[in-house]
């Protein structure tokens, strides 16, 4: 791998214009997904623009994580499609899709996401290294994010030696270190108390807005969702974009 970042296929200038003519970064169209006989996702149509923070809300088991996994190209939908910069994710080769997940997407999950054998710094630098950078450059880049997230002091600790809140900040730093265009976060504050959870949200959304990344954030907490620009509500597998709703008369 070369240390010089090369544009991923999805960045190619010939990328088709967005289906509905907007400048959508990510666009979902008629997404359906069934596991065995469980309909996990039964319709999702919406667009997300660059720099937007979108909360995905809804009851437990309604299909929020499934939606996130389809949007990120981790799980293929049974029908419907996801366009990233106008490119259909299902039309990409496996190699192209994983390049996209490494280079263009960042991920934050509720727990168990840091590699226990690596230090916090090595963890945060991992996506940058996977994208092709050398160790020194990757760690220098990762440190900027650890500083920004106020956990640079524990960079030589392993994940088992830090608090839940610190670990979550390292995970956010890791998600942002490779400068992704989209950050996918599934209950990123679920294991934290409310002050720590809010601090992580504040740092995540500020950092994402500064770098122009979109954030897709699954949460059931309204105070966490209040850091978003708008919300998508999933109920019985159906995702609804609530930004079209009328206000108070």
């Amino acid at each position: 791998m070369s240390a010089t970042p090369t544009p991923s296929p999805a960045h190619a200038p010939d990328a088709a214009p967005h289906a509905d003519g907007t400048s959508a970064l990510l666009h979902a169209e008629g997404l359906h997904k069934t596991y065995g006989s469980t309909p996990a996702l039964a319709g999702a149509d919406f667009s997300i623009r660059a720099g937007e923070v979108v909360a995905v809300m809804g009851p437990s088991g309604s299909g929020k994580s499934t939606l996130l996994h389809c949007l990120a190209g981790i799980v293929p939908p049974d029908s419907g499609r996801v366009l990233y910069r106008g490119r259909d994710l299902s039309a990409l080769s496996d190699a192209q899709r994983s390049a996209l997940r490494r280079g263009d997407f960042g991920f934050v999950f509720q727990f168990g996401q840091l590699v226990p054998e690596l230090t916090c710094l090595e963890n945060a630098a991992l996506p940058v290294r996977l994208a092709g950078a050398g160790r020194k450059q990757a760690e220098a880049q990762a440190r900027q994010w650890l500083e920004r997230l106020e956990v640079d002091d524990i960079r030589h600790h392993r994940p088992g030696q830090v608090s839940g809140g610190q670990g979550q900040r390292v995970a956010v730093a890791r998600a942002l270190a490779a400068r992704p265009s989209v950050v996918f976060a599934d209950e990123p504050t679920g294991a934290l108390d409310s002050l720590n959870g809010e601090r992580v949200m504040q740092l995540l959304t500020e950092a994402a807005r500064d770098s122009g990344a979109a954030v897709v954030l699954v949460t059931h907490e309204a105070r966490v969702a209040a850091y978003s620009d708008r919300e998508i509500v999933v109920r019985d597998g159906k995702a609804r974009d609530m930004s079209a709703m009328a206000g108070v008369a």
Partner: protein
């Protein structure tokens, strides 16, 4: 809480006499504050004048409490609009939200969309408070946090109600 919309919503489930209407209101929504007869009749005469209800029959020997009222099409539209419009988020909304929820179930409307609309409205205000909090000093933060925790409590109550809609519908329609 809007008494006239609540009475109108109750009428949508079927025509009722004035005294019957008061009793239904008190039973469902008047726990700590039953209606006065006077309130019912002044409300009914206003709704009558505005064409939202009509007199459906008068019992023999009739004073005003002997009139039977029925909702008109315009009245149904009025209930529809009230239920579909989210409440301005403010403390102690719970009785209005509860009333709307029960009436939506009683009149076979989509109660979960009512909840989603209200959640959206709450989130709108919560976003504003969160922005203020992020840019403010410690005093601002604490003041905003107080409001945010209250709004969150409203929302959690709505989520809980949403999770029990089917059960509530059965009880309410019994």
């Amino acid at each position: 809480m809007s008494i006239s919309h609540t009475l109108l919503g109750l009428l949508e489930t079927g025509p009722r006499h004035g005294y019957d209407l008061k009793r239904a209101f008190d039973e469902r929504f008047g726990h700590d504050r039953p209606l006065h007869y006077g309130q019912v009749y002044s409300t009914m005469s206003r709704l009558l004048k505005n064409g939202l209800v009509e007199v459906d029959g008068i019992e023999a020997g009739g004073g005003p409490e002997r009139k039977r009222y029925a909702i008109t099409d315009a009245g149904i539209t009025d209930v529809e609009e009230w239920l579909a419009t989210p409440e301005k988020p403010e403390p102690y909304l719970q009785s209005t939200l509860y009333t709307k929820l029960v009436l939506a179930l009683l009149t076979d409307r989509d109660a979960s969309s009512l909840l989603d609309t209200q959640r959206s409205e709450h989130l709108r205000l919560m976003r504003e408070l969160t922005r203020r909090k992020t840019h403010g000093d410690l005093a601002d933060q604490l003041i905003c946090d107080h409001a945010l925790f209250h709004l969150e409590a409203d929302l959690r109550w709505l989520e809980t109600a949403a999770a029990r809609l089917d059960k509530l519908a059965k009880e309410v329609r019994r």
